[in-house]
Symmetry: C2
Subunit: 212 residues, 2 copies
Amino acid sequence: MKLQRRQPRVNGEDRLAEIYKIAAQIICEKGFDATSMNDIAEAVGITKAGIYHYIPGKKELLFEIMSYGMDKLEHMVIAPARAIADPEERLRAIIANHCRVITGGITPQGYNAVTIVVDEVAALTPAHRRKIVQRKRAYVDLVRNTLKQLKEEGKLKDVDITVGAFSLLGMILWLSRWYRPEGRLQPDQVGEELTKMALGGFLRPSARFVAR
Amino acid sequence: MKLQRRQPRVNGEDRLAEIYKIAAQIICEKGFDATSMNDIAEAVGITKAGIYHYIPGKKELLFEIMSYGMDKLEHMVIAPARAIADPEERLRAIIANHCRVITGGITPQGYNAVTIVVDEVAALTPAHRRKIVQRKRAYVDLVRNTLKQLKEEGKLKDVDITVGAFSLLGMILWLSRWYRPEGRLQPDQVGEELTKMALGGFLRPSARFVAR
């Protein structure tokens, strides 16, 4: 599918976010190795010299896309979750907010390219890979610790905390590949459905959440 | 990470399966476009002419890897599931068998490369893409119809069937990226944990499965 050319905006940060999103889309379509800085410049609608004003090179760009994705996760999911003391409320917030990040970033091509690119750490330099892997681990730990706290409070079913954390992330991240905003389900409905299923799988019926 | 050279086996089918698995690994590491037939021949331990004895070209190879992955799913998950009349038993079999396929195919690099490659349909020719997408849809439909049947029997909680099917597949497919066979959890334990969580999320407590 051909990407639409867009007009540059004034705000530098918006502009960068736009470049990252478009670049992620092209990387998903063509693969990282087959994508040139020229392809990205063309899709964004600026000159090749112009793109180098924003990004020093292709490997740097990949790291920047991932950092942009992780920053968004940090601001919209991780930071708000850390502010919630109650583990059930925290778990609900994590699911709802992470679903919102993913469904809100589905491109016209029908998937969330940034989320998919964030997963392809193999092409990064070792130093960059360590940084991204570390940020991902911190998020997995947040989810795992939330389940652990629910276990300590006697609210968790007899489920393994590690399997639980990764399974929940798998459910949420998979949205980036199948959810269509133009379809039957509104973004928040999807978040609610996932919350229902996950909490039904994790929490004892005696907990506040009552399985229907 | 460097791939180990292996000795060719006598059996032609085993040999092909081995080539697909090694090729999937290289594609995951280098990206499809950056991978040459020569890279694959070298990793498999045969000449470039030798690899062409098995596979006519690189795009064909990608399709063959995906078909191999889908064949395995067909034989180990879909066909056995279709033989089970009871939807709850069918759902349990789907989860357990699909988990087994994924955990059993984790390579020494720490992920199931075939499962990951099966997801990258963008590089296929349109005709090949249609075939793979069609096979995937048939599997999603099997899961969705199983949930629908549970709903009709009054066993399903108030969850959306489509979101439920994709969420379950997300949980299972994510195993290809995080599960380590050398870790604390045995493959069948992971399958049991996923089954517990999924059934706890899907089924009413009044159904045969009793949430602990």
